[in-house]
Every structure is written in C-alpha cells, then in structure tokens.
C-alpha cells in the first residue's frame, strides 16, 4: 500500500511525531499544572505548584521550537500551509504562551495579594488557552481542512472553530490537566499532595468522557482516520495499550506509586500520538472536501538529500538530548522545596 514512500520520508514523519510527542508529554504537565493552578487556594500551595515546573518549563517549550523546526526542515510544505492557514490561532497560541511565561516570572516578585491573584489568573488562563489552541489545531488536522490545488488553506479563521476541533481542544485541556495532576502528585507532599491525589481520578473521568466523545465523533464523521487501522488490524494494540495505560493510573495512585502513575500517563500520551500518526498516515494535512489536494509524506517533504543530512543530525543529537534531559530530571527528582531561588 505504501511501497512508493521512501524510507527517509517515513522516518521523518515518525521523528517529527516523536518531537511533538516529547513536547506534549513535557509541556503537557506544565500546562496541566497551570490549568489546575486556580483550584489550589493558599499562596504556599500555589508557589509549590509553580515551582514544581520551575526548573523545567522553559526547557520543555524548546521541544515546541525544535518540533516546529523539524517540521519546517523535513516537511516545509506542511509548515508553510498550516502555519499561514492557522494564522490567528497560532498568533493567539504564541501570545498565550508568552503571557503565561510572564505570569510565572512576575507572580511571586511582590507580596500583595491582588498582585499574585492577578498573575495566578493570567498563568492559568494562559495555560488553558495554550492547551486548548493546540488541541483545536490538532482537531483541524485530524478532521481535514480545505486546501486549494496550490495546497493553500482555503477557508477563514472561523472555519477552524468547528464542533469537532473544539471538542478535541477541550479534550486536550482535560488530558493535560490529568497529566499535570499526576505530575503534581509526584512532586508534592503533605496536604497539597493529598488534594492533588483526590483530583487525579476526577481528571481521569473528565478526560475519558471527552476522549470517548472524540472517538465516537471520529468513527462517525472522519472515516479517513480509520483506514490504516482497518488495513492493519494489529495496530489496534496501540489503542488497547492506551486504554490499559489510562486504566492503570488510578491503581498506581492508590498504591502510592506516583512515579509509575506518571509513567502510565506518559505512555497513554505516546499511544494517543501514535494513534494520531497512524490515522493520518500517509497524509500530513488532509484536504477536505478535496482529498486530492492533500499534503502527504511524499508531496510535502524536503529532498532526500536534506532528509538524509538531518537524519545524521538527529542520530547524533537526539540520543544526547534524551540523555541529558533524563539526567536533569533525575537531578531534580523528589518533592518541591521552596528556597530563595524559587518563583
């Protein structure tokens, strides 16, 4: 079925997926912590929430930069079409991410209650809006957007806000909130820890509810997402693994194995992204209603030469990145303690 796709194109499809999955997992809990931030009440609790992501949020956003860079390099047609087509949505995303960063830096610098309250709200709204917009963009990619024969986006901003993408947007917020809650459990102790533990199951329920809704909507209205799965039924194991990983989270939490719960949450996100990739394959931007205008692994990619050079770059760089990212997280393992360097 896909014999005519060169291996390098396939590899880069996977690698771009890996980078965005890395972003989803890492900044996912940052944004999730932000989404839950306002549910904590005391100043100390909020500072602990902030400082649980303190040393890492900045680096986590680099995954977005690199994912975008890899997309630009490996599939410039996708990068150009999607980024120009989703113009206002992406501009809003950027503003939300920046505003959120400002709020993190600013919040704890002055002691006044109104001051901190204001930035707490900014941090939370920025986080929720970022997660939501990422989800909306994803939802549009899944459901397909109109492309003209020159592969340009042929609709306006409001076309992006159809029910399905909005549903994926809400689901993404729920997913990140769940992921953030589990991360929070892992990084906190005492009353905040107990509070977050209580939230995890609720977050899972909310996420599962929306996730089922998305799944049903996808099966009903977006047939092209299931074509590859139907052709290769063994890929359903990914969906099963996804369900198992999510189902295992409450068990690990109740056993007090917070780290395992977090790993399960990561595994669930990896499986979700894998399902997304499998569903899209071999398309990168599905053109609806004119599928013949779609951008695929084949017609959107850079030359074989570039893909080859970048594979060398990635082969040297990615193991290094993973090694020191893991090392840094290991060094900063354990519960958050507030100190003079804290936010």
């Amino acid at each position: 079925m896909f014999d005519d796709i060169p291996l390098l194109n396939f590899v880069w499809f996977a690698l771009v997926g890996v980078l965005f999955t890395g972003y989803a997992i890492l900044d996912g809990f940052d944004l999730g912590i932000g989404a839950l931030h306002l549910f904590t009440k005391t100043d100390e609790e909020r500072r602990i929430m902030l400082n649980s992501i303190g040393p890492v949020w900045d680096g986590n956003e680099v995954w977005l930069v690199t994912g975008g860079g890899a997309l630009f390099a490996a599939f410039p047609m996708v990068y150009a079409t999607v980024f120009s087509g989703f113009y206002l949505a992406f501009m809003l995303l950027l503003v939300a991410l920046i505003f959120r960063a400002v709020a993190i830096e600013f919040r704890s610098k002055l002691p006044m209650r109104w001051w901190r309250q204001m930035w707490d709200i900014g941090f939370s709204i920025g986080s929720v809006l970022s997660a939501f917009l990422i989800g909306v963009a994803l939802g549009n990619i899944i459901s397909g957007v109109p492309l003209d024969p020159e592969k340009e986006f042929a609709a306006n901003f409001f076309h992006l806000l159809r029910p399905y993408p909005l549903l994926v947007g809400v689901t993404t917020v729920a997913l990140f909130a769940m992921h953030g809650a589990i991360y929070g459990v892992m990084k906190t102790e005492g009353t905040l820890h107990d509070k977050l533990r209580g939230w995890v199951n609720r977050c899972i329920l909310i996420f599962v509810f929306f996730y089922l809704a998305v799944t049903v909507a996808t099966l009903l209205y977006i047939p092209h997402m299931t074509e590859t799965l139907k052709a290769y039924p063994w890929l359903f194991t990914v969906a099963v693994l996804n369900a198992l990983a999510i189902a295992n989270i409450p068990r690990e939490i109740s056993l007090g194995r917070d780290f395992n719960a977090f790993l399960c949450s990561c595994a669930a996100m990896i499986a979700l992204m894998a399902l997304f990739g499998i569903g899209m394959f071999p398309h990168m931007v599905y053109s609806f209603p004119h599928p013949e205008n779609s951008l695929t692994l084949l017609n959107a990619a850079s030359s074989q030469k570039t893909l080859g050079i970048m594979l060398i770059v990635a082969a040297i760089g990615v193991p290094l990145v993973l090694a020191y990212t893991a090392t840094i997280y290991f060094i900063f393992r354990g519960k958050v303690k507030l100190d003079p360097m804290s936010y």
Partner: protein, 455 residues
Amino acid sequence: MDALTLARLQFAFTIGFHYLFPPLSIGLGLLLVLMEGTWLKTKNPVYHQMARYWTRVFGLVFAIGVATGIVMEFEFGTNWAVYSRFVGDVFGSALAAEGIFAFFLESGFLALLLFGWDRVGPKTHFFATCMVAFGAHFSAVWIIVANSWQQTPAGFHLVNHAGITRAEITDFWAMVFNPSSMDRLIHTVCGAWQAGAWMVVSVSAWYLLKGKYLDFAKRSLQMGLVVALAASLFQLYTGHDSAVGVSQNQPAKLAAFEAHYPTAPASLYLFGWVDEAGREVRFGLAIPKMLSFLIYGDGNKPVRGLNEFAPADRPPVNVVFQTYHAMVAIGLGLIGLALLSTVQWWRGKLFEQRWLLGILVLSVLGPQMANQLGWASAEIGRQPWIVYGLLRTSDSLSKVVSGGAIVSSLIMFSLVYALLFAVFIFLLNHKIQHGPDEADLTPVGPLRKEPRADV
C-alpha cells in the same frame, strides 16, 4: 498599509525585540564561565558571589529569549509561507540542527545552572555552565548560517515541483560555509560578547557610584572590562572583514552602506544624509578614496556603484547608510571607552573617577544599539531580496494571510511585548537593587566543600 508592509513591520518588530536578548545570553554566558572558572581556580568566594548573581540575570534574559524566540520560528511559516516553501529544504536543516544541538543543550543545562547549585558538585555545575554558554554560542552558529545563506546562497540548486520552485541542497558544507557565514558569525558573536560584557561593566559601575558592594563591583567591572576591551578591539577586525566580504558578495549592499552611486574610487563617509532622488550625499563629510583603500588596499580602485543596479534591485539607500554609520560610530565609541577605562585602571584611578563611572553605567546601551543597527543595515541592505538574487521579499508573503489578520496580531504582539519589556526591566531592576547576596560568600550544600586546587 498593505499586507507586505505590515508583515515586514511585524517581522522587524518581533525580531528587533527578540534580538535584545540572545546577544546578552551569549555574552553573559561567556562571563559566567569566566567567573565560575575563576572561582574554582582561586577559591575566592567573591567570584562565587559574582557567578551566582549574574546567573540570576542570565536566567531572566534567557527566559525572555526563549519566549520571543518561539514567535520568530512560527513567523516564518505564518507570515512568509512562500519563502518557507522556497528555503525549507536548505534553511530547514540548519534550523533543525540549531534546535537539536544547541537549544536543548542550553535549556537542558540551564535548569542545572539556575537551580542546581545545591544539588550537584562544583565541577559538575561548572560543566553545566560551560554547556549553557557553549549552547548559546552554538545556536548563534546555526541561525547565522541560515541567515547568511539568505545573503549569499551556496550549495543548492533550484528544482520545480508541480509548479512550485524551491532551493534544494546539493552540498551541506557549502551551504554551512557559504561565502558570508563565517565573517558574519564572528562579527555577530563579537557584538554579543560586548552586549554581555558592557552590561556587567554597567551594573558594576552603578554599584561603585552608589558605594555599594565594592569588592564585588570592582572585580565584576574588571572582568567585564577585559572582555569588553578584547571584544571591541576584535570587532574592528571582524567588521572590516565583513565589509570586504559584502563588497565581493553583495555589491549593492556595500554601495548602499556608503551611498556610492557611480562606479569609481569610493570615499568613506563619516556622516551625511543621502538624497536618493538626486543620487548624492548631502551635508556629508568623507575621506576620499578611503573605502577603495580599505577594501582593495588601493585608493584608486573603482568600487561598483548603485547606478549599475536597476532601481528595482537597489536597497533603500538612506536608511542603510544611516544605520550602518551609526553602528560604526557606536562601535568606535565603545573601543574608545574601553581603552580609556583600561588606561584609568592601569593608572589605578578607574574606581574613583565618577564621570567615567557615569559613562560606564550607560555603556550597556551601546552594544545593544549597535547590534540592532547592524542587523538593520545588514537586512535592509539585502532588500529587495529575501534570498539574495533569487527570491524577492515582495513575492514571499503568505498568500492566505490578510492585512487585517496581520494588523490584529501586530496589535496583540505590541501589547504583550510591552508587558514583557516592562517585566524585564522591572525584574532586572529588582535584581540590581537587591544586589549580590551576602549568603553567596559562604556557599551551601555540596558547594561548601572547597573545590580542589587542581580543578
């Protein structure tokens, strides 16, 4: 205004704002390595205090650099989709290398640099500092390679796919070492070192004027001044080198630098105002034949003038002329200031002369202005091309983005960047007012152990 002008305005605004921060990260990164290295070497706790203090400033600068850098990366696609399709194959590999090699290096070890003082040993921490500084420099390499490729494209061929022409790479190393990349890299990095060094000088001079943290301030000032002196003198050489490169690779840009119209032996202007309609420089003061001499070592050699280029292929001359001359003037001024301060230091009077300290407090603005002006002249001088000789800026815009959409995003960015700048100034001021921490003179955690002398 049309969509093209708005998109250019937006790019200029966002890149100008972003470019306040990366040079500081690069320059401060170098100084952090020097400070922490000196501490490990001498075991004098004041260097530990310096490293801790400037690390805090570095963290702030870096955070804003990342936040505004994400915008830049998105903007290629959002506003310049045609350009992105054209250059993706070439430009993309440099950008991907930047992300994978440099950004992760910086941001990964940044956590350790900022928050790891009490969690790892001093040698490991020093290693993290070196990696962050190295990453900052390395990211400059890739982005300048990509930008230089736009100035002097090399190592590619043009291929047409289904009606869309794009540049595809044929020789990676020819692309990396395109004719202008190394000249421009050292020139830019040198500017970045000055940005960091003069900032350290400036804050230290302020403490000295206020009579606060004297030991800290004197040593910081000395260290900053050494780097500032070396970098500003070296900049003279790199600047010259860049100009010679421009004369070979982008003659229209060089001609615009000096508003040189007929092809003839060229003079070097000290200042002036270009009358573009009349094709002459008014109110100017020039050294005859000096440009020819600087470039060819022979004052009588002709330099290609703007008249050789069709009006549609000429950059806007006066703005390039003014930004270029302002950059040179500031660069020379910084050399003068660095030399003067060094002489006073040698005479043992650097810390007493309040007028000089007053000037040094303001010195932080010099490299920032020169860096901005230099970029402006380099990029406006490239016009009307976005990729020199291959693709015009006017043809590169996203087709699907309306002027209205750009206006709304421009307004959003103006507001949020105004906020961001307020945050930066507020927090920087907060850190400066707070001053170095007394507690940092007695290191805590694993750092309490004295580093061995052999480190």
